[in-house]
């Protein structure tokens, strides 16, 4: 019979999941972030620049000078909302992948996983850090949109929180997939952290309706939670209605994607222990 924790002399029974260890890892990434102001600035830089660029395109297309682009003119700030929400997905994925890569770059995985840290706690810390990084990146841009274009994304109301949650969860799923690929293929797969999410951009229908896509591509698009979020956002902006069907699809698909992301990550982590990759990976 195998001994259990209670049978070990002097052993302190420990929970399977420790918020304190999650907090320790969040602290580790926070120390890293706060120690470099260029990193914090970089987080907010791209969302702000994108918002300003698309904000002016939005204004131009909505004006008569822009050829009377009625579709855009019907919904004030539709492109600004789209670009800000797209950044939630992008930053959500990047937040998981970059925090993971920090461990690879510093060759720290060996130390982490001889400590009592469990993979699930680490993943929770990666997601928490992703949320923080996304908020640091996107909040200044949403605030600047008000003086620049007189448009507040917060006018979307409570549904905005649902859009945000669905997009960041999809970002986490993608982030876990990328982490799994890097664990499997090593630092050669590092570039995926920067490009994978852009494969989804055309089919996520960020700036145009799904109906614009060719008929054969539309089912692919509608298999993505992001497409349902952007369709829902446009319905809210143009028609002032909350499309519960799109929201339900987004949530349901996200549950599937997150389950898949976690399963792939855990498998890759197990395989990394089989191959000894936790000690060998690094620059």
């Amino acid at each position: 019979m195998q001994p259990n924790e209670a049978q070990i002399p002097g052993a302190i029974p420990r929970a399977d999941f420790s918020l304190r260890r999650v907090g320790a890892m969040v602290l580790r990434y926070w120390y890293l972030l706060r120690g470099s102001w260029p990193r914090i600035l970089e987080l907010a830089y791209w969302p702000t620049m994108q918002m300003i660029l698309w904000g002016y395109i939005n204004q131009f297309m909505a004006s008569t000078n822009g050829g009377g682009s009625g579709w855009v003119a019907q919904g004030a700030g539709v492109l600004v909302s789209a670009v800000l929400l797209w950044d939630v997905l992008f930053r959500g994925q990047l937040g998981v992948s970059i925090s993971f890569l920090e461990e690879m770059w510093s060759r720290n995985l060996g130390h982490l996983f001889v400590s009592p840290l469990r993979p699930g706690e680490w993943v929770t810390a990666l997601m928490t850090m992703s949320l923080l990084r996304t908020l640091i990146g996107v909040l200044p841009a949403t605030a600047l949109a008000i003086p620049f274009f007189g448009y507040s994304v917060y006018a979307l109301g409570l549904p905005l929180a649902a859009f945000f949650a669905n997009l960041i969860v999809l970002g986490w799923s993608l982030g876990l997939l990328i982490v799994a690929l890097i664990l499997r293929y090593g630092m050669g797969a590092e570039g995926l952290a920067w490009i994978v999410v852009f494969m989804l951009a055309p089919v996520s229908a960020v700036y145009y309706p799904v109906s614009v896509l060719p008929a054969w591509l539309q089912p692919v698009s509608l298999a993505l939670p992001s497409a349902h979020v952007f369709e829902g956002m446009r319905a809210l902006v143009f028609e002032g209605v909350l499309r519960w069907d799109h929201l339900a699809w987004a949530v349901g698909l996200n549950v599937l994607y997150m389950a898949g992301g976690i399963a792939v990550f855990l498998y890759a982590f197990h395989q990394a222990r089989v191959r000894g990759a936790l000690l060998q990976t690094g620059e």
Binding site: G10, R14, R21, L32, G35, S106, G110, V114, G276, L279
Partner: protein
């Protein structure tokens, strides 16, 4: 000579480390397999310091990685403090620790930040006090607020040792604890380890290429070659058995012996192979 702490233990207590039939095979790109560790079996008594010796590629780091649970064995079992590492690893991880010059702490974090993060991971109470205490013990106070990446090799080794001692581990695994250190710093580390063992009665397993270090610190050694344990015993007993003056000469005898290592750990030289035939 340093006096050893009493290691007289109740027979009911299991060894600190027990490996049985421990094997690791890695696939090669051409579809074959290479055996890095081949069905080794050994125990490390509680409170002892044991050296894991062998040339490069002998299987020391692979063995340590399997003991830590970082690497899953192809076959065999590992028990640490009586706990099966394959099934209950997380029950015993808070009671052990590890240090290696080849696994670094994050460079951009300061020494204090690194130690604080790991103190929380090990569930310590009074984190600030413990970090301060270790900094004083290991002469790190001056570097606490400097980035870990900017330290010298000796300072980094002391920081790694501080991290390894945060939880006052009952079992400490050290991979080349004094590699690339100057003699003064290396001696300081060895003295610190001796005192730590005396104070706590901890079990230490260390892989090292420094035979003087092993003779000074270790109660027993395990000699590895080609993934197998080819000899074992107290350093002085090995020196006597091989008719040599130092453990380094014994190491060279084993490392330079021609022939393959048999499954029972014997080195089959040309002569013994002919006799066997």
């Amino acid at each position: 000579m340093t006096s050893r702490p009493s290691t007289a233990l109740s027979p009911a207590l299991s060894p600190a480390i027990r490996a049985d039939g421990l094997t690791k095979r890695f696939p090669t790109p051409d579809g074959r397999e290479v055996t890095a560790v081949d069905a080794i079996a050994f125990t490390v008594p509680r409170g002892s310091v044991t050296g894991l010796l062998g040339g490069n590629g002998a299987g020391k780091t692979t063995t340590i990685s399997m003991l830590l649970g970082l690497l899953l064995p192809t076959a065999g079992t590992v028990e640490i403090l009586g706990v099966d590492m394959a099934r209950h690893r997380h029950a015993v991880l808070p009671r052990m620790n590890f240090s290696s010059p080849y696994v670094e702490l994050p460079h951009r974090l300061t020494v204090r930040e690194n130690l604080t993060v790991y103190a929380h991971l090990y569930g310590l109470t009074c984190v600030k006090k413990r970090v301060q205490e270790l900094a004083e013990h290991l002469d790190l106070s001056r570097f606490l607020d400097r980035p870990s990446g900017g330290l010298s090799a000796g300072q980094k080794t002391r920081v790694a040792l501080a991290k390894a001692l945060l939880n006052d581990p009952e079992v400490l695994l050290l991979d080349e604890p004094t590699a690339s250190l100057d003699p003064d710093t290396a001696d300081w580390i060895r003295t610190y380890l001796e005192r730590y063992r005396l104070r706590t009665g901890a079990t230490i397993l260390l892989a090292s290429h420094n035979m003087l270090e092993v003779e000074r610190l270790c109660d027993g050694v395990l000699m590895m070659r080609q993934g197998r344990i080819v000899d074992r015993g107290a350093p002085s007993a090995l020196v006597a058995r091989y008719g040599r003056q130092t453990l380094e000469e014994v190491f060279l005898d084993i490392a330079r012996a021609s022939g393959s290592v048999e499954s029972d750990g014997r080195i089959l030289t040309g002569e013994t192979a002919d006799a066997a035939e």
